[in-house]
Structures are given as C-alpha cells and as structure tokens.
C-alpha cells in the first residue's frame, strides 16, 4: 500500500469524521467524492497533517506519519482558492518551498505553461492561471503525492470544463499519485481511477467511478451521486450539433460536446427521463427508445424504473405515474429524453 489512512477526527462539540482510505501502489488518481459537509476536506487535511487525529494512524510508504509535522510530509497541497502568496510574484511563489533553486522554477513553470507569467503578481492572474501556478508551486518541491481540495470549484463554469480536461491530462502525465476532493460528479468521472464516496463523515462506497455511479450500494450514495445512468458509448455519427452514439445494443442522440473524442461516458439523470406508453407523434425530445421494464423499485418519494433499451436506462417517476401506466416488470415502454439531457464525458 502507498497510503493507509485510518482517520478518526472529532471536533469540539462538532461532527465526527471516521474514514479509512487505502491507496494501493499504481493507482494514479483517487477521488474523495461527496456533498459538502461530508468530511472530505477533513480527510485530506488529516493526511496532510494540518489536522491532528483524535485516533487512528496514517502510514505512507511504510512510514508512520501519524504525528509527523506537515512540513516533514513530502506532499503537494492545492488549496481550494489556491492560496498563492499575494505579496510574492509568481516566480517567488513557485520557488517558495525550494531550498536550492537550480532552474527548477523555470522547468516547472514551463511544464505548466506559466513561464510567461513569472513576473506577474497573483492578483493579475485569471482563475485558471492561478490554479496552474499553485500546482507549479506544489510540484517544485518534488512531492511524492498531490492532495487537491476542490481544484475546480473556484472557477466559473465556462473555464471549469476547459481546465478540468487540462488537469486530467496533466495529473496523468506527472506520474505522481493524487487525491482529489470534489462534489462534482463530472470531475469524478473525468479525473478518477478510484473513488471513495463520503457522506456524514463516513466512507460509504469505494470503487472505480463508473461502477460507483451505476451501482450505488447505499441510498446516500445514489443521492450523493445524483446520476442514475452512466454507460459507455461510442459516437458513430455527428450531424448538426447532435452526436449519435452506439450504447450497448441500442443508440441515442446527444448534444455534441465538440472535439475529436469518440468514446464517452454517457450520463443521464433519472429525473430527465420520461416514460410513455405509445410513441408520441411530434416531440422536441430527440430520444424515443423502446424498451422493456426490468425493475420497478421505490426510491424515496419517487419510483426508480430500470428499462432495458439496449442498455440499462434508469427513469425516476412518481408513484402515480407508475400506477397510471401500469408499469410492472416486463412492460413495453418508451423512454423519452432530450439530447441536451445526455451528458457526455470523454473516456480518455
């Protein structure tokens, strides 16, 4: 094991976080996923040594880190708002933790494409640039592992998509294992090899992201995840802003995200899928997939209906709708959803 972290952290009169994190050698990126207040950041801070454990232990590469000062842990920590030193120029920010600066600042800056920004002040950088400078600063010290706390949440939505794919490429090219805290399922699918879902201070489920999304083992996980259908799909045709994908033995239309990617994770929220008995004559929805009902299970106030439409598609509908349509296992049904309700995440 690269990292064994058995964390028990109690805050005075506050919540308790009890989590066990295992990162085997060879796993590149581990996602800590969950809603805000789940205890993800606490876990990260405990691993970094910024919080003292109430009980438990942290072992990194066989060395006991439980009582080791944060300065002594060879980690790179990326703070949520990046925490660049406002009184230092970019060059001095990147070189801050480097004892002997034999060109390391320039090398790291070039790698992260911030070499043009070295003489700027942090306040003169955009959000995406700040993130790259903060990463460069963390990398300049040659860390053994990276800890990233909500690396994309400080960015606006338009920047986020772009920075996310850059970050994914970068983290993989670095060859340094990383733990990424996020509450965004797109981040989790794009970045993660392994994923831990946390809620209420506990780890509820661990596994590859796609598996966790499609087969949540707890209701909290399903709720935290919020996406019922995650399947692999391949673009077979692109036409007028719409991508047609082969998914399992079926197919569907999605809004074309652009780019050259062909293989995607196809993500559809259960709330976005409508079920109909017959095929509507005219509709703005691009997808009318006929299928067989595989399963009808209550899910809180709604009912979860799993339809085999060449792939397993989950619809969340009201109990009233289930009764009106007479849905039982084996019913023939049309599943209807808009192309814009399909979220495509590049697999690479």
């Amino acid at each position: 094991m690269l990292l064994i972290a058995d964390i028990d952290k109690r805050f005075d009169g506050g919540p308790q976080v009890q989590a066990s994190v295992r990162i085997p050698h060879g796993v590149s990126i581990t996602i800590l996923f969950g809603p805000s207040g789940a205890g993800k950041t606490t876990v990260l801070r405990c691993i970094a040594g910024l919080e003292k454990l109430t009980a438990g232990r942290i072992v990194f590469e066989g060395r006991d880190w439980t009582n080791l000062a944060p300065q002594k842990r060879p980690l790179g920590y990326l703070f949520q708002e990046y925490a660049l030193f406002p009184h230092l120029r970019v060059r001095d920010n990147i070189g801050y933790g480097v004892k002997r600066q034999t060109g390391i600042v320039d090398r790291v800056a070039a790698k992260l494409k911030v070499h043009d920004l070295l003489d700027r002040w942090p306040s003169e950088l955009s959000g995406g640039q700040q993130q790259r400078v903060a990463l460069a600063r963390a990398l300049a010290r040659g860390p053994r592992m990276l800890l990233l706390d909500e690396p994309l949440s400080a960015l606006d939505a338009a920047t986020r998509d772009h920075v996310r794919s850059e970050l994914a490429l970068l983290l993989r090219s670095l060859g340094i294992p990383a733990i990424v805290v996020t509450h965004d399922w797109v981040d989790a699918l794009t970045l993660g090899d392994q994923m831990l879902v946390m809620s209420g201070g506990r780890v509820l489920q661990t596994g590859p992201p796609q598996e966790v999304f499609t087969r949540p083992q707890h209701r909290e996980v399903a709720a935290a995840v919020g996406v019922e259908t995650v399947v692999a799909g391949r673009v077979i045709r692109r036409d007028g802003g719409i991508a047609f994908l082969q998914v399992g033995s079926g197919g569907l239309a999605a809004a074309d995200p652009g780019g050259d990617d062909v293989d995607f994770y196809v993500c559809i929220r259960g709330e976005d899928v409508t079920l109909e008995k017959g095929r509507a004559e005219q509709s703005s929805a691009r997808n009318h997939l006929s299928g067989l009902v595989l399963e009808v299970v209550p899910a809180g106030v709604l009912t979860k209906v799993v339809v085999d439409a060449g792939f397993e598609l989950v619809a969340l509908v009201t109990r009233q709708a289930v009764e009106d349509l007479g849905l039982i296992k084996g019913s023939n049904i049309f599943a209807v959803f808009k192309a814009s309700a399909v979220h495509l995440i590049p697999k690479s």
Binding site: Q71, P74, L75, A83, F85, Y96, G97, W121, S123, S126
Partner: protein, 230 residues
C-alpha cells in the same frame, strides 16, 4: 525650546519602540495563535497599562526596581547602580507602559492573516519560524507599522510614569512632557506653549501616518483595480 528634553524624549521613544518590536512580535504571535485556555490572563495583563493610572503603574515599577526587590538588587549588582531615576529605568517603565500599543495592533493583524496562506507555507516544507518572517509579517506589515508608530507616539507623550520612575533630571530623565509641566509650575507659559505646540504637531503627524497606513487604498489600489477587471 529645550533641545535637551527633545533629545531625551526622542532617544527614549526610539529605544522603547525598538525594544517593543523585539518583545512585541513574539508576544503578539503568541497572543494571536496560542490556544492555551488561560491566554486571556496574559491578554488582560498586556492591556493593563491602557486602564491603570500611570501613577499606579509607575509606583509598582518603582517598587519592583527598588533596592528592596530581588530584581532591583540583581540590577544593582550587575550595573553598579539602581534602576530608579536613571534613563535605563525609564526605558523599562516605558516598555511596560506602551506594551499594549505595540502588541494589540500587531496581534490583530497576525490574527487576520489568511490561515490558508500559513498552511500553504507549511505544506511547502517551510518551518513555523520561517513562515512567520516570510508570510505572517509581510501580510500584516501595516499592523506592525501601526504598533511601532503608536508605541513611539505614546512614549513621546508619557508623563505620569516618567515622573514616578525617572524623576526630573535634566539631560537624563527630563522629557518633553515633564519640561512643559516644569515651565507651567514656574509660570513660564510662553515656553510651555512652544513645547506643547511641538508635541501637538508631532503627535498629529504620527497619528496621520497610522491612519494613512491603515487605509489600504494607497498600497493596494493597483491590486484592487486589477481584481475588478478580472
């Protein structure tokens, strides 16, 4: 104008401010970051000179320095003379008297430094002490300057403590405020008026500097202008 008194006062204020920086920075750091449960007792002690009449403070300092006290005897054996009614004694008293004026603004500035910046420094392998000089002090330099300037200004104008501990020895412990008092006692109003005017103007200028320092517009205007653009 009594130039001798001006020189004594400036020397006293400068020395006091320097000593207060050396003592005040670590003390302010401790006040800002310690989680000790009895910390409030130390905070209250530091703040005492704000509320105590200078005569009371002066009285205790005098007693503590006197030949009856271990501290006084220790100093006597070391220096060959006692602390009361000497310039050194005056410096000690002034340091105590102006302590809150140095410690409080500095501690407040330290406490408002973004915790994330301190942690970022730790995560880059930099020790607590080095973090103090490379992040905390640069981030709170207006507070540090305020503490420095306020303790200087406060020492310029002290009267009660000086009179109790230093007495009124020309060229040694006679400061500006004592000089003014002396002149008024001697019915030399015009002399008192000149010296008073000098103190008034100097004090006003120093306080203007403090308030200007704390108006961040001067120093961060460029910074903020840019942030608005982004």
């Amino acid at each position: 104008m009594n130039w001798e008194a001006i020189a004594t006062t400036l020397k006293l204020a400068t020395l006091t401010s320097i000593i207060l920086m050396i003592l005040g920075l670590p003390l302010a750091y401790w006040v800002a970051f310690s989680k000790w449960r009895w910390k409030f007792l130390v905070e209250a002690t530091v703040a005492l000179p704000l509320v105590l009449p200078p005569t009371v403070l002066g009285f205790y300092v005098l007693v503590a320095m006197g030949p009856q006290s271990p501290l006084g005897r220790w100093y006597q054996s070391l220096a060959g003379h006692g602390l009361p009614f000497t310039f050194e004694g005056l410096v000690v008293a002034s340091v105590l008297y102006s302590l809150p004026f140095a410690v409080q603004p500095i501690a407040a500035a330290f406490g408002s430094v973004d915790r994330k910046l301190i942690e970022a420094s730790w995560m880059l392998g930099v020790s607590d002490l080095e973090t103090f000089f490379r992040v905390i002090v640069p981030q709170s330099w207006t507070g540090v300057m305020t503490g420095l300037v306020l303790s200087f200004a406060h020492t310029l104008g002290e009267f009660g403590v000086v009179l109790m501990v230093g007495g009124n020895i020309p060229g040694v412990t006679r400061t500006l405020s004592i000089d003014i008092y002396d002149r008024v006692q001697g019915l030399n109003y015009s002399g008192a008026a000149t010296t008073s005017a000098v103190l008034l103007i100097v004090s006003f200028l120093i306080l203007s500097v403090v308030y200007a320092l704390n108006r961040k517009v001067w120093f961060f205007a460029a910074d903020r202008r840019h942030r608005q653009e982004v």
